[in-house]
Symmetry: C2
Subunit: 462 residues, 2 copies
């Protein structure tokens, strides 16, 4: 049984239109955004429905042919990249919205539909789909599930895991599991959905899903705050969560080092406050009932200024003004322009320890590289901190050493080496820094139970 036999069998069963050979799919992009090495697939499978996926995987199992499932290819950890002995299974043709159920508040979609299409369909139906990230136009729902995507509004709405009611998926054997369930509560046996979510394509291929829709917010308020110390940042967070009736929809903290570097290096950005502060917070609340909502937001911010929790603040007077605040927080999209070779981290801690952890990371980095540029920011309401590091003349060796510094501190604070991006191949060797040996053994046992031949996304995660 050679890979050639597998591809012949696939082509016989599914046709040349579904199973393309390298000379047919040409130079089509088949690697993610990580920049990590990737090979070309032996064939590119583009099934049109769950039955074709099932058929393809059953054949791959018969021939022990490895398969890498690919969605929008916007991942950052090499999770969809190839070693060279695999076929790629692209969900690009499974990109339809199946149904919107306005009474149940659900949208049923194929796994290859782009996140932005789902957001737009929800809005058109009078609802809101809250998951949002920069890659919204390219990333697809199946990939959002495979990586349990996060983003800016997790603090109010949760991660991708929290948006899902039903998942239909195909196991390596070609058997279909799950379904298009719309029940919010379902305690009938093990929750296979949650096991598949975040498993990065190693346990099954997700084919269709039922997502939960939320009411469309009709009120929003956004403020940019300057704060004196990290304790004030956590105080502001706790008080905002207790006082703002609609809840906090974004709480993005930026250390001064981040703020100053992006304002200095990107001339499209302007500092919202006149003076410098050790910490900045972008605070946002969304809800219903604009008059009461905005009045309460202003009252709250006034109380925080009076209490000295916030030193200075600006409230966005309109949407364009709010977008200017968000542009500072979204500056990482523009890093390439001034630090093309930077190292970037996506770690999480308890909220209480995030400040100390970030401080220790920076101190350790400066011991070794006194001139390092260290930019720290993130979704503090979720304990999720991004750290971006640039050292003069950075090479591969420095990059590995910086990895070690960050992940050592992460272990010391019992944090996670991957808050939202996943493990892929990039962080696989560091997984023991975040998980016990027995956890990893249990993951491997589950992997073997569901994919005994190891044909699904081999070499990823575990």
């Amino acid at each position: 049984m050679s890979a050639l036999d597998a591809i012949h069998a696939l082509r016989d069963a599914l046709g040349a239109d579904v199973v393309a050979l390298p000379e047919e799919f040409g130079d089509k992009r088949v690697a993610d955004w990580s920049g990590l090495p990737s090979a070309r697939p032996l064939a590119l499978l583009r099934p049109r429905n769950a039955d074709e996926v099932a058929n393809a995987l059953a054949i791959c199992t018969r021939y022990r042919q490895p398969v890498v499932t690919q969605g929008g290819l916007t991942g950052l950890v090499g999770g969809a990249n190839l070693r060279g002995d695999e076929v790629a299974l692209s969900l690009e043709r499974m990109n339809r919205i199946v149904e919107i159920d306005a009474v149940s508040g659900t949208i049923t979609v194929e796994a290859g539909v782009a996140l932005q299409i789902v957001q737009e369909a929800a809005t058109a139906a009078g609802f809101y789909f809250p998951l949002d990230l920069g890659a919204r136009g390219s990333c697809v729902i199946g990939g959002n599930l495979a990586t349990n995507a996060g983003g800016n509004r997790v603090i109010k709405y949760g991660m991708m895991r929290d948006q899902v009611l039903g998942i239909e998926a195909v196991l390596a054997s070609g058997e279909i599991i799950g379904g298009l369930d719309k029940m919010i509560k379902n305690n009938s046996g093990y929750d296979l959905r949650h096991l598949l979510i975040g498993s990065e394509g190693t346990l099954a291929v997700i084919t269709r899903v039922v997502l939960r829709l939320r009411p469309k917010p009709t009120a929003a308020a956004t403020a940019w705050c300057g704060l004196p110390d990290f304790e004030s940042v956590t105080t502001l967070l706790t008080r905002a969560q207790a006082s703002l009736a609609a809840g906090v929809s974004a709480f993005e903290v930026m250390w001064a080092g981040y703020h100053d570097a992006v304002i200095t290096n990107l001339n499209t950005l302007r500092a919202p406050l006149a003076d410098a502060h050790p910490f900045y917070v972008l605070l946002e609340s969304v809800g219903a009932d604009p008059a009461r909502h905005n009045e309460a937001f202003e009252e709250f911010l006034g109380a925080m200024l009076e209490a000295g929790v916030v030193t200075d603040a600006a409230i966005a007077t309109n949407e364009a003004h709010a977008r200017d605040f968000w542009a500072i927080r979204d500056a990482p999209g523009e890093y390439q322009r001034f630090i093309p070779d930077h190292a970037a981290y996506d770690v999480s801690f308890s909220i209480a320890q995030a400040g100390d952890a970030a401080q220790r990371c920076e101190a350790r980095l400066r011991e070794r590289w006194p001139d390092a540029l260290v930019m720290t920011y993130g979704h503090l309401g979720d304990g999720n901190i991004h750290i971006v590091v640039d050292v003069p003349g950075m090479g591969k060796h420095d990059h590995d050493d910086i990895d070690r510094v960050i992940y050592d501190v992460t272990r010391e604070f019992n944090g996670s080496i991957s808050a939202e991006h996943g493990i892929g191949t990039k962080k696989r060797d560091y997984l023991p820094q975040s998980r016990r040996k027995a956890d990893i053994a249990a993951m491997r046992a589950i992997k073997t139970a569901l994919d005994p031949l190891g044909i699904l996304n081999p070499g990823k995660v575990v």
Copy 2:
């Protein structure tokens, strides 16, 4: 290797204080509230910490000795009951609150602590722990996790699954997995937490957990509404979720049959509205900022009356008044007084189909038992309906036939046979009504992967 050898080895390793023999634990209750058959355990293990649990399970694995983990024994499906060849592992001594972290908003507890103790500790620390159910004084956190408990406030705060940050557990082998993580976001490998939640003690013994605390609500409003039809009920739900800024914290629907039966049979209850209506809804909103909150709630209800969505309504004027409304919804605690032999169901559907599904259940029951008492009510915001059935002179045979009617309709509507109570032994034979054959095979493969000898809660769920 006999069971006797196992018990000797356990007693040698852990001492007589931890491993009690039948003559020592006497007539202590060791069965749940289901009334299903249960045997006495060969020994009762009461470990004091995770290491003792690990030690005990390693010995049980060595001797292939089955173990049933027991918490508060308040389950309704036989999930903690015994066949007769098992030892019982009680978490009653692991009942301490380990830590409250007010900055991170977390509480760390041992798995044997009662739900009500956690609620009280949260309140004392200025927070709120939202999960709530009638058995709060007896049920324990480990059991709430093992069954993914629900309750009345799922619509705003989610189920037990949504309250958990970290889980430490012991596998059948005696290895400890997981830990006391406080990260809200953690995408480092498979999420073993979510696999254990709802697995009813068949995959591991949960020993300690980190739970998420919420801000304590400072405002609450409660209304009792009479509605003309099911469509109006779902309209009220959708509009309330979109319009009430703080969100809906309870949306309990009662069909007229339920309302009339409990008001007639329980003389402590009084109907809140003068006229009869086909449907009643208990609507509650909790949040911050009482003045704005209550004013908005009244405005919303006024608009619903004007639109004819709600025919008549009463707003609770104080807490005692609100408790009177809740007493009607909580009447199931008193059923034994007028229908001692009833059959009770906990099913879920999409919100849109819940009305038709309930109607079909009632129609099918009446075809066979024209005089049946059918009481339908539930957490409609979660698609979760409870159906209680009493037929004249009900015997075991009737009970089985009623099961079949309800679960057939559940399958026809693609619903779940267990929204919140779990499977245990009671619903095991009906699991194929809610889950695919391939799902059940996958669950069995996972069970075998994590508990190869099948010593944990044998015969339950799968």
